[in-house]
Protein backbone atom coordinates (compact mmCIF):
# COMPACT_ATOMS: atom_id res chain seq x y z
CA UNK A 1 0.00 0.00 0.00
CA UNK A 2 1.32 3.36 -0.92
CA UNK A 3 -0.81 6.37 -0.21
CA UNK A 4 1.69 8.87 -1.55
CA UNK A 5 0.98 10.82 -4.71
CA UNK A 6 3.88 11.57 -7.02
CA UNK A 7 3.08 14.87 -8.68
CA UNK A 8 5.53 17.79 -8.80
CA UNK A 9 9.32 17.51 -8.80
CA UNK A 10 10.86 18.21 -5.38
CA UNK A 11 11.99 21.68 -6.37
CA UNK A 12 8.47 22.50 -7.52
CA UNK A 13 6.74 21.17 -4.44
CA UNK A 14 7.46 24.27 -2.40
CA UNK A 15 5.16 26.15 -4.77
CA UNK A 16 2.33 23.73 -4.16
CA UNK A 17 0.30 24.88 -1.17
CA UNK A 18 -3.02 23.34 -0.28
CA UNK A 19 -3.18 24.64 3.29
CA UNK A 20 -6.18 26.95 3.88
CA UNK A 21 -4.39 28.65 6.78
CA UNK A 22 -1.37 29.46 4.66
CA UNK A 23 -3.61 31.09 2.04
CA UNK A 24 -5.54 32.95 4.74
CA UNK A 25 -2.35 34.41 6.19
CA UNK A 26 -1.19 35.29 2.68
CA UNK A 27 2.12 33.39 2.63
CA UNK A 28 3.97 34.06 -0.63
CA UNK A 29 6.27 31.58 -2.32
CA UNK A 30 9.82 32.95 -2.67
CA UNK A 31 11.98 30.00 -3.67
CA UNK A 32 12.53 26.28 -3.19
CA UNK A 33 15.11 23.67 -4.05
CA UNK A 34 15.65 20.19 -2.73
CA UNK A 35 15.46 20.34 1.10
CA UNK A 36 15.24 24.16 1.14
CA UNK A 37 12.28 26.51 1.01
CA UNK A 38 11.74 30.26 1.49
CA UNK A 39 8.38 31.95 2.08
CA UNK A 40 7.29 35.49 2.82
CA UNK A 41 4.54 36.73 5.10
CA UNK A 42 3.59 40.21 3.82
CA UNK A 43 2.72 42.78 6.49
CA UNK A 44 -0.98 43.15 7.22
CA UNK A 45 -2.73 45.22 9.90
CA UNK A 46 -4.84 42.29 11.12
CA UNK A 47 -1.70 40.22 11.84
CA UNK A 48 -0.26 42.71 14.32
CA UNK A 49 0.52 41.39 17.80
CA UNK A 50 1.19 44.48 19.87
CA UNK A 51 -0.73 47.51 18.59
CA UNK A 52 1.60 49.84 20.50
CA UNK A 53 4.52 48.55 18.46
CA UNK A 54 2.71 47.88 15.14
CA UNK A 55 4.70 44.74 14.38
CA UNK A 56 3.59 41.33 13.11
CA UNK A 57 2.53 39.03 15.97
CA UNK A 58 5.01 36.47 17.30
CA UNK A 59 2.25 33.92 16.72
CA UNK A 60 2.09 34.74 13.00
CA UNK A 61 5.87 34.26 12.82
CA UNK A 62 5.36 30.93 14.62
CA UNK A 63 2.87 29.87 11.95
CA UNK A 64 5.23 31.03 9.17
CA UNK A 65 8.18 29.10 10.64
CA UNK A 66 6.10 25.96 11.13
CA UNK A 67 4.85 26.21 7.56
CA UNK A 68 8.18 26.91 5.89
CA UNK A 69 9.68 23.95 7.77
CA UNK A 70 6.91 21.80 6.31
CA UNK A 71 7.73 23.07 2.82
CA UNK A 72 11.40 22.19 3.25
CA UNK A 73 10.40 18.66 4.32
CA UNK A 74 8.15 18.33 1.25
CA UNK A 75 10.99 19.31 -1.09
CA UNK A 76 13.35 16.88 0.67
CA UNK A 77 11.08 13.85 0.30
CA UNK A 78 11.28 11.57 -2.72
CA UNK A 79 7.51 11.30 -3.01
CA UNK A 80 4.62 13.46 -1.89
CA UNK A 81 3.20 12.30 1.41
CA UNK A 82 1.47 13.72 4.46
CA UNK A 83 3.57 15.33 7.17
CA UNK A 84 2.79 16.70 10.62
CA UNK A 85 4.75 18.79 13.10
CA UNK A 86 5.98 16.75 16.05
CA UNK A 87 7.80 19.51 17.84
CA UNK A 88 8.75 23.07 17.14
CA UNK A 89 11.16 25.20 19.14
CA UNK A 90 11.45 28.90 18.38
CA UNK A 91 13.87 31.52 19.73
CA UNK A 92 12.74 35.10 19.29
CA UNK A 93 15.80 37.32 19.06
CA UNK A 94 14.00 40.59 18.42
CA UNK A 95 10.68 42.05 17.31
CA UNK A 96 10.05 42.60 13.61
CA UNK A 97 10.24 46.18 12.40
CA UNK A 98 6.89 47.97 12.26
CA UNK A 99 5.14 47.66 8.92
CA UNK A 100 7.58 45.13 7.46
CA UNK A 101 6.78 41.66 6.14
CA UNK A 102 8.74 38.64 7.34
CA UNK A 103 10.76 36.14 5.31
CA UNK A 104 11.56 32.63 6.51
CA UNK A 105 13.94 30.04 5.11
CA UNK A 106 14.05 26.40 6.18
CA UNK A 107 16.49 23.57 5.58
CA UNK A 108 15.46 19.96 6.04
CA UNK A 109 18.88 18.49 6.83
CA UNK A 110 17.90 14.91 7.63
CA UNK A 111 15.06 12.57 6.71
CA UNK A 112 14.60 9.11 8.19
CA UNK A 113 11.81 6.62 7.45
CA UNK A 114 9.54 8.30 10.01
CA UNK A 115 11.00 11.67 10.92
CA UNK A 116 12.31 14.79 9.16
CA UNK A 117 14.58 17.27 10.99
CA UNK A 118 14.50 20.95 10.03
CA UNK A 119 16.12 24.27 10.92
CA UNK A 120 14.71 27.63 9.95
CA UNK A 121 15.22 31.33 10.45
CA UNK A 122 13.07 34.42 9.92
CA UNK A 123 14.12 37.97 9.11
CA UNK A 124 12.58 41.19 7.85
CA UNK A 125 15.26 43.45 6.33
CA UNK A 126 18.48 41.49 6.42
CA UNK A 127 18.88 37.73 6.41
CA UNK A 128 22.02 38.03 8.54
CA UNK A 129 20.01 39.77 11.28
CA UNK A 130 17.30 37.17 12.05
CA UNK A 131 14.35 37.98 14.28
CA UNK A 132 13.67 34.34 15.09
CA UNK A 133 15.17 30.90 14.55
CA UNK A 134 13.44 27.53 14.74
CA UNK A 135 14.27 23.87 15.12
CA UNK A 136 11.57 21.34 14.27
CA UNK A 137 10.87 17.64 13.83
CA UNK A 138 8.12 16.38 11.54
CA UNK A 139 6.42 13.03 11.24
CA UNK A 140 6.57 11.67 7.71
CA UNK A 141 3.50 9.91 6.27
CA UNK A 142 1.51 11.16 9.24
CA UNK A 143 -1.87 10.30 7.72
CA UNK A 144 -0.85 6.64 7.32
CA UNK A 145 -3.87 4.39 7.63
CA UNK A 146 -6.26 7.32 8.02
CA UNK A 147 -8.66 8.10 5.24
CA UNK A 148 -9.41 11.64 4.10
CA UNK A 149 -12.03 13.07 6.42
CA UNK A 150 -10.87 10.80 9.28
CA UNK A 151 -10.92 13.74 11.69
CA UNK A 152 -14.59 14.40 10.95
CA UNK A 153 -15.73 11.08 12.45
CA UNK A 154 -17.54 11.23 15.79
CA UNK A 155 -14.99 9.05 17.54
CA UNK A 156 -12.04 9.86 15.32
CA UNK A 157 -8.73 8.37 16.30
CA UNK A 158 -6.56 11.24 17.44
CA UNK A 159 -3.37 9.30 17.82
CA UNK A 160 -1.41 11.11 15.12
CA UNK A 161 0.17 14.51 15.68
CA UNK A 162 -1.44 17.53 14.11
CA UNK A 163 -0.45 19.25 10.94
Amino acid sequence: MNNSVDIPAPSERGRFDWSPHSRALGFEFVSAEKAFATLKLPFRDDLVGDPDAGVIAGGAVTALLDHVCGHAVMTALDAMTSIATLDLRIDYMRAAEPGLGVYAEAHCYKVTRSIAFVRASAWDRDKSDPLATAQAAFMVNSDAGRRPGANLAQNASTEGPSS
Binding site: W18, S19, P20, H21, S22, A24, D45, D46, L47, V48, G49, D50, P51, D52, I56, A57, G58, G59, A60, T62, A63, L64, L65, D66, H67, S82, A84, T85, L86, D87, L88, R89, I90, D91, Y92, A95, S142, D143, R146, P148, G149, A150, N151, L152, A156, T158, E159, G160, P161, S162, S163
Partner: protein, 139 residues
Protein backbone atom coordinates in the same frame (compact mmCIF):
# COMPACT_ATOMS: atom_id res chain seq x y z
CA UNK B 1 -17.66 42.02 35.22
CA UNK B 2 -14.56 41.92 37.38
CA UNK B 3 -11.55 44.12 36.76
CA UNK B 4 -9.47 41.23 35.51
CA UNK B 5 -12.24 40.05 33.16
CA UNK B 6 -12.43 43.54 31.67
CA UNK B 7 -8.67 43.67 31.46
CA UNK B 8 -8.63 40.30 29.68
CA UNK B 9 -11.24 41.40 27.12
CA UNK B 10 -9.34 44.62 26.55
CA UNK B 11 -6.08 42.75 26.14
CA UNK B 12 -7.37 40.22 23.59
CA UNK B 13 -9.42 42.89 21.83
CA UNK B 14 -6.27 44.92 21.34
CA UNK B 15 -4.35 42.11 19.66
CA UNK B 16 -5.40 42.15 15.99
CA UNK B 17 -3.89 38.70 15.45
CA UNK B 18 -5.98 37.22 18.31
CA UNK B 19 -9.11 38.62 16.65
CA UNK B 20 -7.95 37.22 13.31
CA UNK B 21 -7.71 33.74 14.83
CA UNK B 22 -11.13 34.23 16.48
CA UNK B 23 -9.73 33.64 19.96
CA UNK B 24 -11.48 34.61 23.20
CA UNK B 25 -11.10 33.75 26.88
CA UNK B 26 -13.14 33.20 30.01
CA UNK B 27 -12.18 33.76 33.63
CA UNK B 28 -13.24 31.73 36.64
CA UNK B 29 -11.69 33.70 39.48
CA UNK B 30 -8.05 33.92 38.55
CA UNK B 31 -8.21 30.85 36.31
CA UNK B 32 -8.34 31.64 32.62
CA UNK B 33 -9.49 29.34 29.84
CA UNK B 34 -8.67 30.46 26.32
CA UNK B 35 -11.09 29.36 23.62
CA UNK B 36 -10.45 28.98 19.90
CA UNK B 37 -13.65 28.11 18.00
CA UNK B 38 -13.03 26.13 14.84
CA UNK B 39 -13.01 28.11 11.59
CA UNK B 40 -12.09 27.00 8.05
CA UNK B 41 -9.18 29.45 7.78
CA UNK B 42 -7.40 27.64 10.63
CA UNK B 43 -6.99 24.38 8.71
CA UNK B 44 -3.49 23.18 7.83
CA UNK B 45 -4.21 19.70 6.50
CA UNK B 46 -7.45 19.82 4.49
CA UNK B 47 -7.51 16.05 3.86
CA UNK B 48 -8.11 14.97 7.46
CA UNK B 49 -8.94 17.92 8.11
CA UNK B 50 -6.65 19.16 10.91
CA UNK B 51 -5.95 22.59 12.38
CA UNK B 52 -2.57 24.07 11.36
CA UNK B 53 0.24 23.45 13.84
CA UNK B 54 1.24 27.11 13.62
CA UNK B 55 -2.27 28.17 14.67
CA UNK B 56 -2.02 26.04 17.80
CA UNK B 57 1.42 27.41 18.60
CA UNK B 58 0.15 30.98 18.19
CA UNK B 59 -3.01 30.28 20.22
CA UNK B 60 -1.04 28.86 23.13
CA UNK B 61 1.52 31.67 22.93
CA UNK B 62 -1.24 34.29 23.27
CA UNK B 63 -2.80 32.23 26.09
CA UNK B 64 0.51 32.45 27.96
CA UNK B 65 0.81 36.20 27.31
CA UNK B 66 -2.75 36.79 28.52
CA UNK B 67 -2.25 34.73 31.69
CA UNK B 68 0.91 36.63 32.60
CA UNK B 69 -0.76 39.97 31.88
CA UNK B 70 -3.75 39.17 34.11
CA UNK B 71 -1.63 37.94 37.01
CA UNK B 72 0.75 40.83 36.83
CA UNK B 73 -1.72 43.54 35.90
CA UNK B 74 0.54 44.48 33.03
CA UNK B 75 -0.59 47.04 30.54
CA UNK B 76 2.18 46.23 28.08
CA UNK B 77 2.46 42.80 26.57
CA UNK B 78 5.24 40.48 27.70
CA UNK B 79 7.48 39.39 24.81
CA UNK B 80 8.22 35.76 23.96
CA UNK B 81 11.89 34.80 24.32
CA UNK B 82 11.60 31.15 23.34
CA UNK B 83 8.82 28.62 23.01
CA UNK B 84 8.78 24.88 22.51
CA UNK B 85 5.62 23.26 21.19
CA UNK B 86 4.92 19.54 21.38
CA UNK B 87 2.22 18.13 19.13
CA UNK B 88 0.59 15.06 20.65
CA UNK B 89 -2.54 14.53 18.61
CA UNK B 90 -4.11 15.73 15.41
CA UNK B 91 -6.22 18.84 16.06
CA UNK B 92 -9.69 18.05 14.75
CA UNK B 93 -12.10 20.66 13.34
CA UNK B 94 -13.52 21.40 16.79
CA UNK B 95 -13.27 24.13 19.43
CA UNK B 96 -9.85 24.10 21.12
CA UNK B 97 -9.28 25.18 24.72
CA UNK B 98 -6.07 26.12 26.52
CA UNK B 99 -4.93 26.88 30.02
CA UNK B 100 -1.62 28.36 31.04
CA UNK B 101 0.27 27.67 34.24
CA UNK B 102 2.94 30.11 35.33
CA UNK B 103 5.71 27.95 36.74
CA UNK B 104 8.00 30.76 37.79
CA UNK B 105 7.77 34.49 37.57
CA UNK B 106 10.66 36.76 38.45
CA UNK B 107 11.35 40.42 37.95
CA UNK B 108 12.13 40.07 34.28
CA UNK B 109 11.30 36.54 33.12
CA UNK B 110 8.27 34.27 33.37
CA UNK B 111 8.33 30.53 32.68
CA UNK B 112 4.93 29.33 31.45
CA UNK B 113 3.49 25.94 30.49
CA UNK B 114 0.33 25.75 28.38
CA UNK B 115 -1.90 22.77 27.61
CA UNK B 116 -4.43 22.73 24.79
CA UNK B 117 -7.23 20.21 24.44
CA UNK B 118 -10.46 19.66 22.53
CA UNK B 119 -13.05 17.18 23.78
CA UNK B 120 -11.20 15.75 26.75
CA UNK B 121 -8.96 17.81 28.99
CA UNK B 122 -7.09 14.68 30.09
CA UNK B 123 -6.02 14.09 26.46
CA UNK B 124 -4.22 17.30 25.49
CA UNK B 125 -3.54 17.81 21.78
CA UNK B 126 -0.57 20.17 22.18
CA UNK B 127 1.73 21.45 24.92
CA UNK B 128 3.80 24.63 25.01
CA UNK B 129 6.66 25.67 27.27
CA UNK B 130 8.00 29.15 27.00
CA UNK B 131 9.97 31.99 28.54
CA UNK B 132 8.57 35.50 28.33
CA UNK B 133 10.22 38.85 28.97
CA UNK B 134 8.11 41.04 31.22
CA UNK B 135 7.73 44.65 30.24
CA UNK B 136 7.98 47.30 32.94
CA UNK B 137 4.64 48.19 34.46
CA UNK B 138 3.26 51.48 33.24
CA UNK B 139 1.70 53.94 35.63
Amino acid sequence: MSDSAEQLDALLGRIPYARYLGMRAELAGDEMTAILPFAPHLVGNPALPAIHGGVLGAFMEITALAQISIMQGLTRQPRPIDISVEYLRSARPLTTYARAEIRKIGRRIANVHVEAWQETRANPITLLRGHFLLSPKED
